[in-house]
Amino acid sequence: MLLTIRSLTKTFPGTKALDGVRFDLRAGEVHALLGENGAGKSTLIKCLTGAYRPDAGEIRLDGQPIAPRSTSEAQELGIGTVYQEVNLLPNLTVAQNLCFGREPRRFGMVSSREMKRMAQDMLSGYGIDVDVSRDLGTYSVAIQQIVAIARAVALSGKVLILDEPTASLDAREVEMLFDVVRGLRDRGLGIVFVTHFLDQVFALSDRITVLRNGCHIVTEDTAALDRVRLIEHMLGRALEDEVEHRAVDHGVAGPVKPEMLAFDAMSRRGVVEPFDLRIAKGEVVGLAGLLGSGRTESAELLFGIRGTTTGTARDEVGPVRIDSPRAAIAAGFGFAPEDRKTDGIVADLSIRENIALALQARRGWARPVSRTEQARLAETYIKRLDIRTSDAEKAVGELSGGNQQKVVLARWLAMNPRFLILDEPTRGIDVGAHAEILRLIHELTAEGMSLLVISSELDELIAVSDRVIVVRDRAHVAELTGADVTTETVVRAIADHGREEVA
C-alpha cells in the first residue's frame, strides 16, 4: 500500500467533517473519492496534505507515518495536489506559478530564463499554447486549471490528488488530462480523483471510495459497481428518476407561450456575432457549445456585463435598457455566473446574508429586507437546494465547494427575476442536488420565470430546455426546437464543420 489512512477525524465548530475515515491508495491505481457535497472529500484531502491538522488518526506513506504540517511539507513528501478552490495566483506569471517553491537558482538567485524553460517543459504534453512569462490571470479559467494540474503533476513524486479538476474543462481537455493521468498511473503513481461526473469515474478509476456525512461508506473495485448502486452509496437512498420523467416532452408542441423578451441583433465586435433571441414566458432556452465558443459571452451581453456594439432589447411593454448589470437587474434579469468561485460569494458573510444580498441590492438600501424575511428565504433555499450546513448563520467560506455554489444559485433565485440566466448551474454539484436543481428549474418555469441555461452537459441541457441554441465560433449557428432537441442533433450541430475552422 502506498498510502494508508486510518481513523482520521476532523471536527469544525458545529460539524464533524471526518469521522474515523479510512482510505487506502495503491501505487499504480486511480482511486475515485466520491460523495455528496459536504461529505468531507476536500477535508480529507486537506488533512492529508497539511492544509488542515487532523484531530486524530494516522496517515502512512510507504509504511512510514507522516503528519505534514504545511502544504509545502506534503509537496516535499511527493504529494502533488490540485485543490478544489482556486489554487494558483493570477498575479504571478504562468512560469512563476508552475515553478513556485522549486524555482531554479543560479548563484542563489532565481534564474528567470531557466524558470521559463522549466515551465515550458512542464506544460508540454498538455497541448496548450501559452506564453509562460505572462500573468496567469490573463488566461481563461480552463487554461489556469490545466496549469494547476501541470504543477501538481510535476510535484507528485508518489501521489497525485485531483479535487474536481475537470469542472471547467471541455471534453477534449478532459481526454487529454485522462491521458496524462493514465500515463502517471502506469509509472506507478497513486492518484486520488474527486469528481461529480460519474461518467468520468467509470472511464478513469480503478477503485472507488464513497464518503457520506464524514464517514467511510464503501471501497470497491470500479468494475464491481454500477451507477445505480454507486449513487445509492453516495446518497444513502435511491435516486428517483424524476428528472427523466419531468423532462420537457419535446415531441408535442405545448400551448404557445406568450413572448416575453425579444433581443435583436445583439453583438459585440470580436466577441459575439449578431444574434436574435426570443424568449417566452416560462420558457427554458438552452445554450449549447464548446467552451470558448461564445456561450458565456452571449449571456454577458444579455445581462449588460459587456457593452454591445449593436442590439436592442424589448419586452411586452417597450424597449428595455440593459447597458449595465444594474440596469439588467432593474429590468428583472438575473445571472448566476459560471465562475462562481470568484464572482459569486462573500465568504465572510453568512448564508442568510449572501442569499439576501442581490435582493437587497435590487430593492435599494432604503427598503431593507427584514431579518425575518431573510431568515425565511435562507430557510427555504437551504431546504430546496439541499444546502448542507449546520445553520443559516454559518459563514459561506466554511461550506464545502458544492454547497457554496448552491448559495450563489439561491441568491439569484431569491430575487425571483422574470428572466434568469444560469451559466453551468450544476457544475460541482452532486448527483442528488443535481436532480433537485433540475426539478427547481421546472418549478420556476411553471411559475412563469423564463430561463437561459448554459451547460456543457448536454443530457442535462436537453432535459430542461424547450429549445436549444447552438453556439460555435462566436456565432449562434443553429436553433433546435421540438423533436429536434436530442443529444445527437445538438452534438452534430456543435461539431459541424469541425474545429479545424477555428485553427
Binding site: L89, N91, F100, G101, M109, D135, G270, T296, E297, R474
Partner: protein, 328 residues
C-alpha cells in the same frame, strides 16, 4: 509587450516627462550637481520606500517606519553622547533593534491574524514614544566617524557630488530588487499579495514570510534612520512625521499596486526620484510655494490609481475574450 510591465513604463514615462519639463524650464538643471543632490536629499526616503515596497507587495502596510526613523536618529545621538560605544557598534545595535521590532510586528500580524494597518499603527506610536523617552530635545551628533561619513563622496564630472548615503540608497534599491524579484522569499511575498489562502495552499510558509517582510521593512527603516542622522547630523524625536505616507506615495507612484501582488522595486526608485524632482523644480522656480509639491504628488497619486484601475479592467477583458489563450 507584456501587460505586467505597463505600470512600470507609465512610471518611467512620467519621470522622463518631468525631466523634460524641468529641462525646458531650467536647462541648467540637467547637471550632475542636481542629480547628486537629488540622490542625497532623498536617500533616506528611497531606502525606507524599498522596505515599504516589499510590505505593500505582500498586501500589507507599515505605518511605523516614520517613527522608527526618528527613533533611530535619537537612539544613535543619545547612545553616542552617553554610552561611549563606537558609532559603528551603535549602528549595528540599532539595526538589530529595528529589525527585531519589525519582526515582532510581523509575528503579531500573523499570530493574531490582525490587519497590518492596526499593528503597525501601534508600532508607530510605540516607536515615537520610545524616541521621546530617550530625549525630548534635538540632540546633535558629534563624532569623528560621522564627520567622515558626511564628507564621503565621489566627485562626478561636472562637480556633482555622489555622496555615500546616495550610493547607499542605490545599493538598497538593488538589494530590494534582488530580494523581491530574484529570490524565493520574494516569490512568496508576491504570492501573499495575490491571496493568503491560495499562497498557503501553494506551499508558502505564511508566518515565516510575514515575519520576514516586516523585519526587512524594520531593517530598512533603521538603515534609513542612520542615513537620516548622517544627513541632518542630529537626532530629534519629532523628525520625519508622516514619512511613512510619503514612502507609500512613492511606492504607488512607482507603479506598485496598493492592494499588493504586483509592482517593481525599481519603480519605487523612479517614484522617489519623481517626487524629488518636483521638489527641486519648485525650489528652482523660487516663486512657487512648497505646498505645490504636495498638490502635484496628490495629482500623480490619483493618476496612478486611475491608471491601475484601467489596467485591471484591461486585463480582465483580455481574460474573458475568447482569443486569449485559446487552445491550439
Amino acid at each position: 509587450m507584456n501587460p505586467r510591465l505597463y505600470p512600470l513604463y507609465a512610471t518611467i514615462g512620467i519621470f522622463l516627462f518631468a525631466c523634460l519639463v524641468c529641462y525646458i524650464q531650467f536647462p541648467f538643471m540637467a547637471s550632475t550637481r542636481v542629480l547628486g543632490n537629488l540622490l542625497t536629499d532623498n536617500a533616506y526616503l528611497g531606502i525606507v520606500a524599498v522596505g515599504m515596497t516589499i510590505v505593500i507587495l505582500s498586501g500589507g502596510i507599515d505605518l511605523s517606519v516614520g517613527s522608527v526613523i526618528a527613533f533611530s536618529g535619537v537612539f544613535i545621538a543619545v547612545m553616542l553622547r552617553d554610552s561611549g560605544l563606537p558609532a559603528p557598534v551603535i549602528m549595528a545595535l540599532l539595526l538589530v533593534v529595528t529589525t527585531l521590532f519589525g519582526a515582532a510586528m510581523g509575528g503579531l500580524i500573523h499570530a493574531l491574524a490582525m490587519p497590518p494597518f492596526i499593528v503597525t499603527l501601534a508600532g508607530m506610536f510605540l516607536a515615537r514614544g520610545a524616541a521621546y523617552m530617550l530625549t525630548i530635545d534635538s540632540v546633535p551628533i558629534v563624532d569623528p566617524f560621522y564627520d567622515r561619513l558626511q564628507d564621503a563622496y565621489y566627485l562626478m564630472p561636472g562637480k556633482g557630488r555622489l555622496t555615500l548615503i546616495g550610493v547607499l540608497m542605490l545599493a538598497s534599491v538593488a538589494v530590494g530588487m534582488i530580494v523581491a524579484h530574484r529570490t524565493r522569499f520574494g516569490a512568496s511575498v508576491f504570492a501573499l499579495g495575490g491571496g493568503v489562502q491560495t499562497a498557503r495552499l501553494m506551499g508558502v510558509r505564511v508566518g515565516r514570510t510575514t515575519v520576514g517582510i516586516y523585519a526587512f521593512s524594520g531593517f530598512m527603516a533603521g538603515l534609513s534612520g542612520i542615513v537620516f542622522s548622517v544627513y541632518t547630523g542630529s537626532g530629534y524625536p519629532l523628525a520625519t512625521v508622516g514619512t511613512e505616507l510619503t514612502a507609500i506615495a512613492a511606492v504607488v507612484i512607482g507603479g506598485t499596486l496598493l492592494t499588493g501582488g504586483s509592482g517593481f522595486v525599481f519603480g519605487t526608485l523612479i517614484g522617489v526620484m519623481t517626487m524629488g524632482l518636483i521638489q527641486t523644480y519648485i525650489v528652482f522656480d523660487g516663486s512657487l510655494s512648497s505646498w505645490w509639491t504636495k498638490i502635484v504628488i496628490g495629482g500623480l497619486l490619483l493618476l496612478f490609481i486611475v491608471l491601475q484601475k484601467g489596467l485591471l479592467r484591461l486585463t480582465t477583458t483580455r481574460l474573458a475574450s475568447p482569443q486569449a489563450g485559446a487552445p491550439v
